[in-house]
């Protein structure tokens, strides 16, 4: 069971807390709990939450984490939950220097959670909410049976990423645009506003009113095709229109809630990890480190920052970008004059001594997410300095290789990987496809094909919720294809796009 801080750890915490405030970090109250390795692995398996609905995949996570630890491959140092108050976990057996590092890192995260716009609409009482979800699921298990509930969760998890990742927040009510459109339609049928009654015939002649009426009617007929516009929140669409049992709908809405809660963390991974790393290194090296702790600190810090060629370390990329921004705004390396200067020597020694770096990064941490962050602040100089490259798989040689170091390609690839959290964009196009209550989805193809076997398995799961045949339009090798699963068989046919 987690323990609260020992007097010694509490003292360390007060110290680090003081430094964090001194540097201007702004966070919710942060509660640290002390746990053993095993407890850490457990909490981590539940995504940081002490209470989660029962499901085998947490067990799988736990198996992988504890094995990783046993083999000495990985060890979780820090874990923090976006909640008010924030909760964070400290490993019981860690040395003081590690505890301080983790605390400083955690305050960085908490500051980010509180201030970054992506998190503004997240549930800050998620700990309670998760516990409620757990209770609800358990109740259904008691009623319906564990096999059925777990099986339904398995199938729903398969659709978990089909939310509107970049929606500002979860939408619970029917599309507000729909109500707006209806109001507009009424207006049109009644004609323009008429100030004086005798003018009506002139302003709204009957032919005009008739044509307006007809237009509205046509639109309504068209609207029978639902959804009216492509719906990215596939889970929401299913909640509204799929023939679900009450317990199924309840579980689906739980999983959708949780998916929305976690979405901002996926969208700000580079910024958030970079921000926390920036602050742990600043706080540790400028304030909290004692002389005899430097080696252990450096060991730990460089361990976190390590890179290998075929993977991007968000901690490393993030911290370097934050430092780069700070330096550029300190030295005035931005704006028209800087952009237009192509004298290398002048650029190299450019320093307007603005000292605006700190202020700038605080502003950036508020208004950006990974996509806009990379899009705005990744510079060619930075990409060269950080040795970024694009890699891909070479089928002929059956190996991964470096494809390109050109700035624009690196940036485009990075952004592509971040768009929609690196997931394909899928929309509901038609809930009454070919007037047979079939479901039609579309994959907005951006140059990458869907993984075929996974797509077919996912269609199966989707079909089991929709209970009628389901279809998805996508592209393979540049050609339009519609995959279909009717409840028994998979099929596919060519379509023109």
């Amino acid at each position: 069971m987690p323990k609260s801080l020992t007097p010694h750890l509490a003292k360390l915490k007060d110290e680090v807390l003081g430094y964090a405030r001194e540097f201007g970090l702004d966070f919710f109250e942060t509660v640290f709990e002390v746990v053993t390795y095993d407890e850490m692995n457990m909490v981590a398996s539940y995504g940081g939450f002490p209470n989660r609905y029962p499901h085998w995949r947490w067990g799988m996570e736990y198996e992988q984490l504890s094995k990783g630890y046993e083999y000495g491959l990985s060890k979780i140092y820090e874990l923090v939950i976006n909640n008010d108050p924030c909760y964070a976990y400290l490993l019981e057996s860690n040395a003081d220097v590690d505890q301080k590092l983790v605390m400083a890192h955690v305050y960085g995260h908490c500051d980010f959670f509180k201030n970054n716009f992506s998190f503004r609409h997240t549930n800050r009482r998620m700990i309670d909410e998760m516990a409620n979800h757990a209770t609800r699921v358990r109740r259904w298990i008691d009623k319906i049976g564990v096999e059925k509930v777990e099986d339904f969760i398995d199938r729903t998890l398969s659709l978990e990423n089909l939310i509107d990742q970049h929606a500002p927040h979860i939408r619970r009510n029917p599309d507000p645009k729909r109500a707006e459109d209806e109001a507009k339609a009424n207006e049109r049928v009644e004609g323009f506003k008429v100030g004086r009654e005798y003018m009506r015939g002139f302003i709204n002649p009957s032919e005009f009113l008739e044509s307006q009426r007809k237009k509205v009617e046509d639109e309504k007929a068209k609207a029978k095709k639902f959804p009216e516009r492509a719906q990215r929140d596939v889970l929401y669409f299913l909640l509204e229109y799929a023939p679900l049992e009450p317990w199924e709908a309840d579980i689906l809405s739980i999983l959708r809630d949780e998916a929305y809660y976690f979405a901002p963390q996926g969208q700000t991974k580079i910024m958030n990890e970079g921000w926390a790393s920036y602050w742990h290194s600043t706080i540790m090296t400028r304030r909290a480190l004692k002389d005899d702790e430097i080696i252990d600190y450096a060991d730990r810090h460089s361990g976190t920052m390590g890179t290998r060629p075929g993977a991007l370390n968000p901690y490393k990329l993030g911290i370097e970008l934050w430092r780069d921004i700070e330096e550029r705004w300190n030295k005035g390396r931005f704006g028209k004059e800087w952009d237009e200067c192509d004298d290398l020597r002048a650029r190299g020694s450019w320093d307007k001594k603005l000292g605006a770096g700190r202020e700038k990064i605080f502003e950036v941490r508020k208004h950006y997410n990974d996509i806009t962050f990379i899009d705005t602040f990744l510079t060619p100089e930075f990409a060269i300095e950080q040795k970024l490259f694009v890699y891909g798989f070479n089928d002929k040689r059956n190996s991964w290789e470096i494809l390109d170091r050109e700035f624009r390609k690196v940036k485009a690839k990075l952004l592509q990987g971040l768009t929609n959290f690196g997931q394909p964009i899928i929309e509901v196009i038609d809930g009454n496809f070919e007037n047979r209550s079939e479901l039609l989805l579309a994959h907005k193809h951006d140059g990458q094909d869907l993984k075929g076997d996974y797509a077919r398995e996912t269609l199966k799961n989707l079909q089991s919720l929709w209970r009628r045949p389901v279809n998805i339009v996508t592209r393979y090798d540049g050609k339009g294809v519609m995959l279909r699963y009717d409840g028994q068989n998979h099929s596919e046919k060519k379509v023109d796009l």
Binding site: M1, P2, D38, M42, V43, S45, P50, N51, R52, P54, H55, W56, R57, W58, G59, M60, E61, Y62, E63, K67, E150, D154, L157, S158, L159, E160, N161, D292, I295, T307, R308, P309, G310, A311, L312, L317, Q386, L388, F389, V390, Y391, F393, R397, W400, E401, I402, K413, G417, F421, G422, Q423, P424, I426, Q448, L450, K451, D453, Y454, T458, N461
Partner: protein, 370 residues
């Protein structure tokens, strides 16, 4: 908290077990699994425990990396990690299926349940206790041979920095007596029951690669089961054509000889090994013999049978003979054995036509529970 994750963990394990069971027949036939065998565990690909989603294949997607290297340079194996923002997602290229580590012991249990194998009745239960060293941590004292160099130097570095004697320009670090760190250990007692498997295989010209592969796969499963029944199992390997010799495991599976076949030579060697090293009063003994059923002469076969009846069978738990079908063999030997010793309780005879037959053959061998 602890209770909950253990429930979920148990649930996960039950699912994995179910998947392994459902696919066991396939796993049994496959030789590739043997290659992945670790010391005590084996990793098994489980189809679709990974939750399917609409997603991109990592190979199609590629990504951005960081580091030195020219364009066109190959990234080494293990360097590329699917960039799934979720962290722990998959392992390396195992994209299709999750790889799960299963201990051999557990695998044996599953095998036993699925084939409904009876537990072996042990003839001997004498326990021999062996001791094993387990390294448990770091100590400030200990024998020099157990000195932990990295920790020692780190300690020295810390001390030098703390006392201000560290010079970054001349980074020489000299550990003193107090800096030394040692691995500490505990001795654990391990009880063992003795058992030995004596594998014999005909490696004459008529035994082709496919036949040997079958033997290899089958003996892996026999091994696994017996190891599950007896902690502390020894294995000996005999190959023979016209003469027999004892070899190590690797040679056993990879030798190809030509020439005739004198099965009696192997049985003779087997008998001698038992007499020399494995007194029947203290050991559970399992001679397993594989051949394609062709022997040199009826006379030699008679010798084999005599030896079995008089010397081998009386002292062993079970003698098993597996006849692997080959295009060259007459397959006569199993008939002779069946006639002569087929009714003995501690004899198991099995014909293995192809890889598909391994599954049932295991049952022939182990189904008697001896």
């Amino acid at each position: 908290m602890s209770l909950k994750i253990h429930q979920d963990h148990a649930r996960f394990k039950a699912i994995v077990r179910g998947k392994i069971k459902a696919n066991l027949r396939k796993y049994v036939q496959k030789g590739e699994m043997l290659g992945k065998k670790g010391k005590d565990a084996i990793s098994i690909p489980i189809p679709f425990i990974d939750i399917p989603r609409f997603k991109y294949g990592h190979k199609e997607q590629g990504g951005v990396g960081q580091g030195d290297g020219e364009v066109g340079q190959t990234l080494g194996p293990g360097q590329v990690q699917p960039g799934d923002g979720h962290g722990q997602a998959g392992q390396g290229e195992g994209e299709h299926a999750l790889e799960v580590d299963v201990t051999l012991d557990e695998l044996a249990q599953i095998l036993g349940e699925e084939l409904q194998l009876p537990n072996i009745e042990r003839r001997h239960n004498e326990k021999i206790v062996t001791q094993r060293i387990k390294y448990t941590g770091i100590n400030t004292t200990g024998p020099e041979s157990l000195r932990h160099f990295k920790r020692t130097f780190k300690q020295a570095l810390k001390r030098q920095i703390a006392t201000g004697t560290y010079d970054p320009k001349k980074p020489v670090i000299i550990p003193t007596r107090e800096d030394r760190r040692y691995r500490s250990y505990k001795l654990q007692d391990l009880p063992e029951t003795n058992a030995v498997i004596i594998y014999m295989m005909d490696v004459s010209g008529s035994m082709g690669d496919e036949q040997k592969e079958i033997v290899r796969i089958e003996s892996f499963w026999l091994d696994t089961w017996l190891r599950h029944q007896y902690k502390g199992l020894e294995s000996r390997y005999i190959i023979h054509d016209a003469v027999a010799r004892e070899v190590d495991r690797d040679t056993f599976f990879h030798t190809r000889e030509s020439g005739g076949t004198m099965i009696s030579s192997a049985y003779k060697l087997c008998r001698d090994i038992i007499q020399a090293d494995y007194p029947k009063s203290a050991w559970n003994i399992y001679p397993f013999h594989f051949s394609d059923g062709d022997n040199w002469s009826a006379d030699d076969t008679r010798q084999c049978i005599d030896m079995l009846k008089n010397d081998i069978l009386p002292g062993v738990n079970q003698f098993a003979y597996g006849q692997v079908e080959s295009p060259y063999g007459s397959g006569q030997f199993i008939k002779d054995l069946r006639e002569a010793v087929g009714d003995q309780t501690n004899v198991a005879l099995s014909e293995i036509a192809d890889k598909d037959a391994i599954y049932n053959s295991i049952k022939d061998f182990l189904g008697k529970g001896r």
